[in-house]
């Protein structure tokens, strides 16, 4: 177990800069999720941490050791790959024990460690098979077994669940969480799935274009996104963006949009500078409820999407589309006018030009 610091790491391929000055500090036993759309540089960053690719600048420090010039085999890390990367010519037993074999651990210890890991992952009965004879979920478990048997300083996961079907993915997600709780090893986990990020991470780094957009606890990322990209990337259905003008009224600030005026609370000091200017309000769909109490928005119902536990209603509010998550019993009629009460404490304001949170 160890801490991880990434200090000013850069990477360019030719003239293309894929990572720009990345700084991350992760505490011992932490679970860092690198989250972002494809091409954001998250996998490259993971490869640099693993030593599979060299950085163009900056430092990687695992524990107290600067590992810039350390080969992957000597970094004492373990990695689970998207394709699992099980050695097809070897049995599951040898696959799991391969790291120990390479480190010249004696066969008896190796055997008992492999058995322990297999037991923890409930794959004892598969030890003598070849990877080709396993299902996707089983391969995933073997890949994790290969990682945990080494007891490394650092676990690296590269989109480990994206090749599984939806049901297995949820199961294995829980399994990873349980393993982390039990082993307490420091983890870096790459994914494009925001649910995985929210459920697993103790820290989430949202990346785009080789830059970290926000690095924070999952709840902070969800409730106080640093900019419109993060706000839009996290949450499903995505956050509503409502353009309006910030005005001063009754001693507080109000967002006026058409006829509606939403009083705002919990704003940062800087908000005052935006009075009289256009801003974008970010409103999560679940903070809109049918009813006329408090601040309200009124629009016409455009689409109704029942999902089972909830119903999503898409409304046209003064020319802008807003999604509201309402109870499963609520089935408004198309074209009808609908009034929603807004939980104004949960509103985030963004600068429409920079996209940054106000």
């Amino acid at each position: 177990m160890a801490t991880l610091s990434i200090k000013g790491v850069r990477k360019s391929f030719g003239s293309v800069e894929v990572l720009k000055n990345i700084d991350i500090d992760l505490e011992d036993g932490g679970f860092l999720v690198l989250l972002g759309p494809s091409g954001c540089g998250k996998s490259t960053l993971l490869s640099i941490i693993a030593g599979l690719e060299s950085s163009s600048g900056g430092d990687i420090v695992i524990g107290e050791r600067n590992v810039n010039d350390v080969h992957p085999k000597d970094r004492n890390i373990a990695m689970v790959f998207q394709s699992y990367a099980l050695y097809p010519t070897m049995s599951v037993r040898r696959n799991i024990g391969f790291g120990l074999e390479m480190r010249k651990v004696d066969p008896q210890t190796r055997e008992s460690e492999v058995n322990k890991a297999a037991e923890m992952l409930q794959i004892e009965h598969l030890l003598d098979r070849k990877p080709g004879q396993l299902s996707g979920g089983q391969r995933q478990r073997v890949a994790m077994g290969r990682a945990i048997v080494r007891d490394p300083d650092l676990f690296l996961f590269d989109e480990p669940l994206s090749n599984l079907d939806a049901k297995l993915r949820v199961e294995m997600r829980t399994e990873i969480k349980r393993l982390h709780d039990r082993l307490g090893t420091t983890v870096v986990y790459v994914t494009h799935d925001q649910i995985e990020a929210m459920t697993l991470g103790t820290r989430v780094a949202v990346m785009k274009g080789g830059v970290i957009q926000q690095l924070a606890e999952p709840q902070t990322i969800y409730e106080k996104p640093a900019n419109m990209f993060v706000a839009g990337f996290i949450g499903s259905p995505t956050m509503n963006f409502l353009a309006g003008r910030l005005e001063r009224a009754d001693g507080g600030l109000v967002l006026s949009h058409g006829d509606a005026a939403l009083p705002l609370t919990e704003l940062t000091q800087d908000a005052g500078a935006y009075v009289g200017k256009q801003v974008v309000a970010g409103i999560r769909p679940e903070t809109l409820h049918p009813g006329s109490g408090g601040s309200t928005l009124t629009g016409t119902v455009d689409v109704v999407e029942p999902t089972g536990p909830d119903t999503m209603v898409i409304l046209n509010v003064g020319g802008q589309m807003l999604t509201a998550r309402v109870g499963s019993r609520d089935r408004p009629k198309l074209g009808e006018a609908m009034t929603l009460s807004v939980d104004t404490a949960a509103i985030n304001l963004f600068d429409p030009d920079s996209g940054d949170r106000i």
């Binding site: 490869s47 599979l52 085999k73 890390i77 990367a85 050695y87 391969f98 790291g99 390479m102």
Partner: protein, 281 residues
């Protein structure tokens, strides 16, 4: 509508079978005819009335070829040249092919194209200088020299074909092995080469067949019985001794037997390899 559709499919199926059977017959008939000739008695070969289904058989041609001509020596020489060629390709080509498959480095594309352009050089353009150089270094008229000369056109082929098989082994496997404590060298020998084993065998067989069959380089670069390979020897026997058809046929059958056996064993992987290399090239 459904009637005519299945009807037209059936028609095409029948045509396909007819075409394939006809082509297969055309392809195999010369081999069968040569084989028949090689086991016919002389009177059934040179005859006024063509004997299609011989009733008398003899292995005399094979016995005579094997005991009275220098054929066993020729075959041994060919075996020697073939194994040496395969060995050189294996030792130098495997790692080169691996490098092309695994790494992107400046000049990679140009180098790979270069390996291909080599094929465009006319055989004669290389044979003459090779003849002069080999004579200078004393490798003319030796199996070693011939094997080295063969690598000039077989090594590029070997590298290209094998690259296809290496490409099929995921790169993540090596990353995993390197993280597990292996060096790149270890990952190559422990992980990648075992996975590409079938392809490696097929590529070797392909090169072996080509070396075994080669005629032109051998004709120019060997001059004595001591290093001559079977294609040259057989051709010379035809010219010098008015070799009887039966013996020539027997020589042909002996020589293509290993080719047919090897091809039959590895044809599926080999075909995949040849085409994979070609599709990407």
């Amino acid at each position: 509508m459904a009637q005519t559709r299945s009807g037209s499919k059936l028609l095409w199926d029948v045509i396909s079978y007819a075409v394939l059977v006809l082509l297969a017959l055309v392809c195999v008939f010369p081999i069968i005819w040569t084989f028949l000739t090689s086991i016919k008695v002389e009177e059934d070969i040179v005859t006024r009335e063509m004997v299609y289904f011989p009733t008398r058989f003899t292995f005399d041609w094979y016995v005579r070829l094997w005991s009275q001509s220098g054929y066993p020596v020729l075959v041994m020489n060919s075996l020697m040249v073939t194994s040496l060629t395969v060995l050189i390709c294996l030792l130098t080509g495997t790692i080169a092919s691996y490098a092309f498959s695994r790494f992107h480095f400046p000049g990679r594309t140009q180098l790979m194209l270069g390996y291909l352009v080599v094929r465009m050089f006319p055989a004669v353009l290389m044979i003459i200088p090779l003849f002069i150089v080999m004579r200078q270094v004393g490798l003319l008229d030796s199996t070693h020299g011939l094997a080295i000369a063969y690598t000039s056109f077989l090594l590029p082929l070997f590298v290209w074909m094998l690259k296809g098989f290496f490409d099929a082994a995921p790169k993540e496997l090596e990353s995993a092995a390197r993280i597990d404590g292996s060096t790149r060298l270890g990952a190559m020998f422990r992980i990648v080469i075992p996975i590409a084993r079938n392809g490696l065998v097929a590529t070797c067989v392909f090169v072996a067949i080509a070396a075994w069959n080669e005629y032109l380089f051998a004709l120019m670069l060997t001059t004595s019985q001591g290093s001559r390979t079977w294609p040259v020897g057989l051709q010379l026997m035809v010219g010098e001794f008015q070799l009887p058809w039966g013996m020539l046929a027997a020589g042909g059958m002996i020589s293509i037997l290993p080719v047919i056996v090897l091809f039959a064993i590895v044809q599926r992987v080999m075909v995949a390899g040849i085409t994979a290399g070609a599709v990407k090239g």
